[in-house]
Structures are given as C-alpha cells and as structure tokens.
Amino acid sequence: MSPIDATDRRIVGATQAGLPFVPRPYHAVAEGLGLDPEEVMARLRRMLEAGIVRRIGAVPNHYALGWTANGMSVWDVDEGALPGLGPKVGALPFVSHCYRRPRRPPLWPYNLFAMVHGRDSGEVDAKVGEIAALLGSSARAHDVLVSTRILKKTGLRLARQEGAPA
C-alpha cells in the first residue's frame, strides 16, 4: 500500500469530516489547510487510485432511511468452498459488509461475517435464510448477532501516526 504523507493525512482528515456544501468545496478545504486546490484534488485522486480512500460521496445513515434492523450473521464455512462462496454472499444486495476473519476455537468457530440489513428483525431473518440456502452444506454452523445497544460510534478516522499526540 503506498505510504501517505502528513499533507495527505490533513486532506483526508478535512474531507472525512465532511465537505462543505458550497459551490467549490475542494477550494474551501484547500483554503482551510493553506494548500493549493489543484493539489488537494490531485492528492485525493491519487489516494483514491491507491485504494487509501475507498470512495468520496454521500454517506447515508441506514437508520434514518428505515433500515432499522441489522444482524451480523456469522458462518463456519468449509475453507475449500469459501473462496468461491464468499464473493457470492458479498454480492447479495442486502449485505453491506462481508469479510473472512479467523476462527478462534473453541469460543469462536466462525470464519465468514456478513452484515445483513432489513426493515425489521423478520426481514433480517429471511435474508439470513437466503444466505443459508446459498451456502448449503458448506456451512457447518451459523449464528446471528443482533446489536442491542450502540455504546460508541465515531466515524473511522485515520489512525494517528505513531508518536503523535492523542
């Protein structure tokens, strides 16, 4: 992954918090940082191409849009079948995140995580059923973890550089 320098970090920090709703938002960000607007756009373009910035756009709030129910479905999938099945689960329209993570036996036997969204818990259950059908006998076990309380949620921020003040 290409390294990013202090200027990149400042730009990401400023744009991550939200672009202003003015006709020339990158110019406004550049002015706030004391940078050239063309440099701000060029650096963002480079970070986008390098995969450091995943996307630039509107970040919707699922809850406000009516997706009030979600379940983190977790699956114990056969290692040999996972490379073929993982992308299929990830492509389902109601799945927002889909990752392979390590098992931690005996406490945690699951290696596939798929975050499922719905308007209510019944809809989430039905969607989990669709994933179960897709995985078939390749999934030995699964569970659905419903979040009961959000205890802390801050947008992901760029990690501070080692040694930088908190």
Binding site: P23, A64, R157
Partner: protein, 152 residues
C-alpha cells in the same frame, strides 16, 4: 422513516461514491440529476440536517494507513455497562456494540500498526480480566462501497 423526494433518492443512490474530483462537483451532480447547483446544495444541507446523510466526504480504507481489528469479549451482564465505558474511553476504539450473544461486547480498534492494536487489546484484557478475541479482517468479499436504496 423519512420520506425522500425522487431527487433525494437519486442523489443518495447515485453519489455514495464517485463525487467528481473537479472544482464544481455539486454542479456536476446537479447536471446528472437534472436540477441546478443551488438545489443540490440546499438538498444536501437538508438531508444532513435531517440525519439522512451523515456527511459527504471521503471514506478511508481501514488498513491503508494503519491497522484495525474487530474484538469481542464475553463479560458478565451486570458489569457490561462499566466495562463498555472503560473500553470506549480508549481513543483507538471507534465502534463499540452490545450484542445478544455469549460474546456480548464487540468493538473495533484502530491504530497505526498491528503491534499498537495488540497493545490496546492486551491492555483491555489485563485490566478487565477477560480474554479479548482478536478477529482481524483477512479478506473482504464486499467492501463498504455504499448501499443501494433502489430495491427498498
């Protein structure tokens, strides 16, 4: 649930990614939506004020400039609130959820290096006295590239 105008729906569906990196991105957005720039600016301000759109900005790859992991703990229900507050107080913790499971506390730790993440997990494990499961992302089958509303 919030009722969205067709323009608002098109905006949210079409611009979760790919905001132009050119001087007047909202004017380009307006062209594609068939409205004028002022309408887009006013609409975005309203959607943000209503909480439908939390922001318009950059979404960063978690492992691009550092390391992160998903961590889970099984804590006694009577102690959960106190332990959760303790965990949330770490600046490296950016999400913390209670979930219905024996592993009832789930949180994301982000720091510059895997070692720094490990130190946070070790610190929590030592102070709370409960094992912390370290479940880092090994492969993404779907990245957070936005979420479709069209089938809603």
């Amino acid at each position: 649930m919030t009722t969205l105008s067709p323009t608002a729906r098109h905006l949210i569906d079409g611009f979760q990614r790919g905001l132009p990196l050119r001087p007047r991105p909202y004017a380009e957005m307006a062209d594609r939506l068939g409205v004028d720039e002022e309408t887009v600016l006013a609409l975005l301000a309203r959607l943000q004020a209503e909480g439908v759109v939390s922001r318009v900005g950059a979404v960063v790859e978690p492992h691009a400039a550092g390391w992160s992991t998903l961590a889970a703990m099984s804590v006694p229900p009577w102690a959960l609130a106190q332990i959760a507050d303790f965990v949330s107080a770490y600046p490296e913790v950016n999400h913390n959820y209670e979930r219905e499971h024996r592993l009832n506390l789930w949180f994301v730790v982000t720091a510059p290096t895997p070692e720094a993440v490990r130190r946070v997990l070790d610190g929590i494990e030592y102070r709370v006295g409960v094992p912390v499961l370290d479940l880092p992302l090994e492969e993404a089958f779907r990245l957070d590239l936005g979420f479709a509303l069209q089938w809603h």
